[in-house]
Amino acid sequence: MSAAGFAKWALVLWTILCIGLGFFRFTDTTFPLNPPPGVHGELHIALQAMRAYQFWGAIWIAPAIGLFLLWRMKREVDDEPAVRRRRLERRQPLARRLGKTLLNVHTFRGVLGVLAVLIIWQLAQPLGVPIIKRIPPLSEVVMRFFDDRGLFWRDKYWAGWVISLFRIFSGFILALLIGVPQGLAWGLSRTLKSVSFPVFEIFRPIPPLAFLPAAIYLMPTAELSIIFVIFLGAYFTIVINTINGVYNVDKSMERAALSLGAKRSDVFWKVIFPGTLPSIITGATVGMGITWMVLVAAEMIAGRSGIGFLTWESYTAGDIPQVVVGMASMGVGGAICSAIIWRLGTNLTPWRRLF
C-alpha cells in the first residue's frame, strides 16, 4: 500500500476508534435516572457526553492532524479532474457559492410549499375544517413556544435536542458500522447468508419498539436501551438494502475488472463497493427516518429526557400547543438529519448527480 493510502485508512480507523471509545466511556457510567441535586438530568447527561468526548477528542486530534497532512502530501492528485473541478469551485467568491445553493428556484418552491401548509394550518380553525380545526392554530403554538413559560426559554428543551440527536446518531452510526459490512458479507457469500439469514429474517419483522421492554431489562442503562432500539430501527433496513445493492452490481462489471487484471480485493473495493454505495445511501436515508419514529416512542417509555419525552410530558399535562411544539421540533430535526444524509450521499456518489 502507498504511504498516502496507509495514512488515509489509519486516519479513518483512528477516528472510528476514538468515537467508539468515547462512546463506551460515556455509556459506561450508569446514567443517573436521579440526577444530582440542582442539575437537570438532561444537562447532566449532556455534560458527561461532552466530558467523554473532550477527553477522546484531545487524544484524537494530534495523530489525526499528522495523518491528514501525510495523506495530503503523499497522494497524487495534481491532475485529477475532480480535484481540478473543486479547485475551480473554490475560486468563486463565497457569496456567489452560497447564493447558488440557497437562492435557487428549488428552494423557492420548497419555501412556497411550506408556507402554503402553514397558512392552511393557521386558517383551519377559523374556517372550521373538520378534524384539522381541533389542532391549535399556528399562532397559538408559536405563542406557547415563546411565552414566559415556553419551551424556548427552558434548558431542558435545548438539552433535549442535544440528547435526542446524540441518541439518534449513536444508534444510526452503530447501525451503519455493523449493517453495511454485514450486508456486504451476505451479498458476497452465499454460504454465510444461507447460514445466518433465516435468523435475521425472524428478528426483522419484530418492531423495534417490541424490543424495548427486553432492552430495558437487558441493558445496563436506560440510555443504552434507547440507543439499542434506535440502532435496530435503522439496522434492518440498511442490511437489506446493502444486500440488494450487492446483487444489483452488474456481473459484467466484475468480469470486466477481472479481465483488466484486478485482484479479488480490487474487485471488492473498486467495483462492488462503489456499485453498492447508492443502495447503502438509500438504506441509510430510509433508516434515518425510522430512527426518528423509534426515538420518540423509546423516549416516551424509557427516557427522562429528550424531545420525545418532552412531547409526552406535555400531553400528560394536557398542554396541547406544547405537544405541537414537540411534534414540530421532531419534524424539523428529522428533516435536517435526512438532508444531511442526502447531502453526504450525493457527495459520495457524484456520478449520480447527473441524472
Binding site: E76, R255, L260, G261, P274, L277
Partner: protein, 282 residues
C-alpha cells in the same frame, strides 16, 4: 503500438459445455474445435441464442468448459486474465469512474503509479477521439463514445487478444457504421488478434479476415471462410463483386443450419429463416 503479431493464438480443442443437472442437461457447445489465428480479425457468426456468448465466456475464462481445453499461445486457460480483454454487448464501463478513471483502471490495479497511468490513459483517450471528455462520467457520453472509451480501456493493457461480444449492438445504424470503420482502422494499424462476435452477416464480412460460421445448438464451428477482401477496407467494399460472392456463400451455410434448427423448433432459427427470406427477396 508495437505489438508482436505472433501473439494471441487461441486453440479450442474438443470443447464441450453443458448446463444443468444430469436429468435436465442442456448441451450448449459440443465438441467444438477451432483456431483463432493470431494477428487476424476473426469473426464468429451464428444466429442469436446459438451459444456465441458462451464461447466467449469460455475463452475469457469466466466459465470452465465441461470437457476439452482452450490454449492461448500454447498455454491453458485458467480463469480470467489481462492477456484476454473482453468488450461486452452492453457497456461495462464503471459508472462511478470518469472516462479517465475507467481507462486508468487496468494500470492502477497492476500497481503502475497514478501519474504514469494517467499519462498513458490520456494518450489513449486522445487516440480514440475522446480528448476533452476525460472528466465525464459514462452516463454523460453517447453510445459511440462509450464504446470507444471501452476500447481505450481495453487497449491500455496491451492484451494479446481482444474478445468482442457483439460490441456494437444497440447502437444506431449510423454510429454503428462509423464504429465498424473505426475498429477496422484501429485493427489495420495495430494488428491485434481480435475475436469478434456478431449475428449480422454484413458486419461480419466487412470486418473479417476469417469468418467462423457456427452451427445451430449444440454449437460447433461448421465452416471457416477466408475473407480475402483487400485491406485497408472502407465501405466501397460492400458493393464489390467478391463481397457479393462471399456473402452468398455464407448465407447458404447459415441457411442450412437455420433450417436444421428450425426443424427442432428453435425461435432463434425461425428468426433467421425469416431474415434470410427478406434478404433474398429484397
Amino acid at each position: 503500438m508495437s505489438h508482436p503479431m505472433s501473439q494471441g493464438r487461441v486453440e479450442c480443442r474438443d470443447l464441450t459445455k453443458m448446463f444443468g443437472e444430469e436429468w435436465a442437461r442442456q448441451v450448449i457447445v459440443q465438441n467444438a474445435s477451432f483456431v483463432v489465428e493470431e494477428g487476424k480479425l476473426n469473426v464468429l457468426i451464428g444466429p442469436s441464442g446459438c451459444g456465441k456468448s458462451t464461447l466467449i465466456n469460455l475463452i475469457a475464462g469466466y466459465e470452465e468448459p465441461t470437457q476439452g481445453e482452450i490454449l492461448i499461445d500454447g498455454e491453458r486457460v485458467q480463469g480470467p486474465g489481462r492477456d484476454r480483454l473482453v468488450v461486452f454487448q452492453e457497456t461495462a464501463l464503471f459508472p462511478w469512474m470518469t472516462s479517465l478513471g475507467n481507462v486508468m483502471f487496468g494500470p492502477e490495479v497492476r500497481g503502475v503509479s497514478a501519474r504514469e497511468a494517467r499519462q498513458e490513459a490520456r494518450r489513449l483517450l486522445e487516440k480514440v477521439g475522446l480528448k476533452g471528455f476525460e472528466d465525464k462520467y459514462p452516463s454523460q457520453l453517447s453510445g459511440g463514445m462509450q464504446r470507444r472509451c471501452e476500447l481505450a480501456r481495453a487497449l491500455i493493457n496491451q492484451p494479446k487478444i481482444m474478445l468482442m461480444d457483439e460490441p456494437f449492438r444497440g447502437l444506431d445504424a449510423m454510429t454503428r457504421e462509423l464504429m465498424q470503420e473505426y475498429l477496422l482502422r484501429l485493427f489495420e494499424e495495430t494488428r491485434h488478434t481480435i475475436l469478434f462476435v456478431t449475428s449480422e452477416l454484413e458486419e461480419a464480412i466487412f470486418l473479417a479476415d476469417r469468418l467462423l460460421i457456427l452451427s445451430a445448438k449444440p454449437t460447433q464451428v461448421k465452416e471457416v471462410l477466408d475473407i480475402d477482401l483487400p485491406r485497408p477496407r472502407d465501405f466501397h467494399v460492400l458493393t464489390s463483386e467478391r463481397y457479393g460472392e462471399l456473402k452468398q456463400h455464407a448465407l447458404e451455410a447459415l441457411y442450412e443450419e437455420a433450417v436444421k434448427a428450425f426443424a427442432k423448433g428453435s425461435k432463434a432459427a425461425y428468426d433467421l429463416v425469416e431474415a434470410f427470406g427478406k434478404r433474398v427477396s429484397g
